[in-house]
Point group: C2
Chain length 220, copies 2
């Protein structure tokens, strides 16, 4: 099929996973192409010359880059099923605010847990727990961030759930002790096939991080 | 008027200016409130407890935070006039991509020109010129980033135009030599009242930066 979308992705990437979840939520049949970072494909370099990063969704021959942008594009290009946003402008602005929070605060904090050691890692743990608690409080007793239905903020955050075990192991923390509602929300989201099919097993991520730390930090 | 939107802002902020331009493009009558950063208002702290930053747009008693989010909210809350986005999903994704580029690459580079000295400033100049050239190439021969009409990317970037003189003076560069089309675009945007009324005079920004550098770096 000429118009079958192509997703340029990398399996452990939380950003790539967002695109997978979004496409599966919409029931879109797509071609998954794994990128090799040491030898990026011509299609990736030509589709995302500015950032040269995955995920890129190529649809009708045209590339859409940056994960949250891909998720919004998927929502708008396949509008008939499972809308990711509420319809009112204020609700939409709140969803964008929280996905942006995930990108800015949560993403920056988690990276320090698995990529760093010592003081930098400790600072990352503190920021990570702060971010968890803010998200826990925003979720409150709702089933999903947007309320009763799985949406944009859920997609932006759930992909990190596959990394939780790695954060716990390498950061020596208990995410469930810090934010039990968030863990319950993660389990709830994992009941959705769009999510469970898109996230790698936690053990694989733990192995990926162990390998990264051995190669880059000289120890696990 | 109970429903007159309130904008919490700070005059030299390029982010605050985005909200001003967006509201004026839509012809929205709003109350401008200048924030004092050494003594933030109760309304700011209560409206944006996560980031505690301007701009915040309070509309119908509810706060919208983060500048690009405010611009998108304004577009959706006042949909009848001057749409900021094209109607097709791909065009919308491209606009979001470039506004995000402005936030990530351009913003980070420019800050090093005026807040830093020495090597850090030199690195910032290099990144700034690279970002200028990428934006110049994306603009090409179009009157505006979105094509024939002033839109989301234009709003996200034009507010930095009031800082161009400061970048030139303190970074010792000529923006017009590096990116003549971008400077022509800036002049074109300034012909719009929504823009010219929202941006402070370049000389005031130069004075603001001189003061900042004197107080924080010990020299201009």
């Amino acid at each position: 099929m000429a118009n079958k979308p192509i997703l340029l992705d990398y399996w452990p990437s939380m950003f790539g996973m967002r695109a997978r979840v979004a496409l599966r939520e919409k029931g879109v049949d797509f071609e998954y192409r794994e990128e090799d970072f040491s030898n990026k494909s011509a299609l990736l370099l030509q589709s995302n010359p500015v950032h040269k990063k995955i995920p890129v969704l190529v649809h009708n021959g045209k590339p859409v880059c940056e994960s949250l942008n891909v998720v919004q594009y998927v929502d708008e290009a396949w509008p008939d099923k499972n809308p990711f946003f509420p319809s009112d402008p204020y609700g939409r602005s709140q969803a964008r605010f929280w996905a942006d929070f995930v990108d800015k605060k949560f993403t920056e904090a988690q990276v320090k847990i698995w990529m760093k050691k010592g003081e930098e890692q400790e600072a990352g743990k503190k920021e990570f727990i702060e971010a968890l608690k803010i998200l826990e409080s925003e979720l409150g007793d709702k089933p999903y961030f947007g309320g009763d239905s799985f949406g944009y903020v859920d997609i932006s955050l759930i992909t990190f759930y596959s990394w939780f075990q790695a954060y716990e192991k390498f950061g020596n923390i208990s995410i469930e002790a810090e934010s039990p509602k968030l863990v319950a929300w993660g389990k709830r989201c994992m009941e959705k096939e769009s999510v469970s099919k898109s996230l790698p097993e936690s053990e694989k991520i733990v192995g990926y991080v162990a390998e990264f730390r051995k190669n880059n930090l000289g120890s696990e």
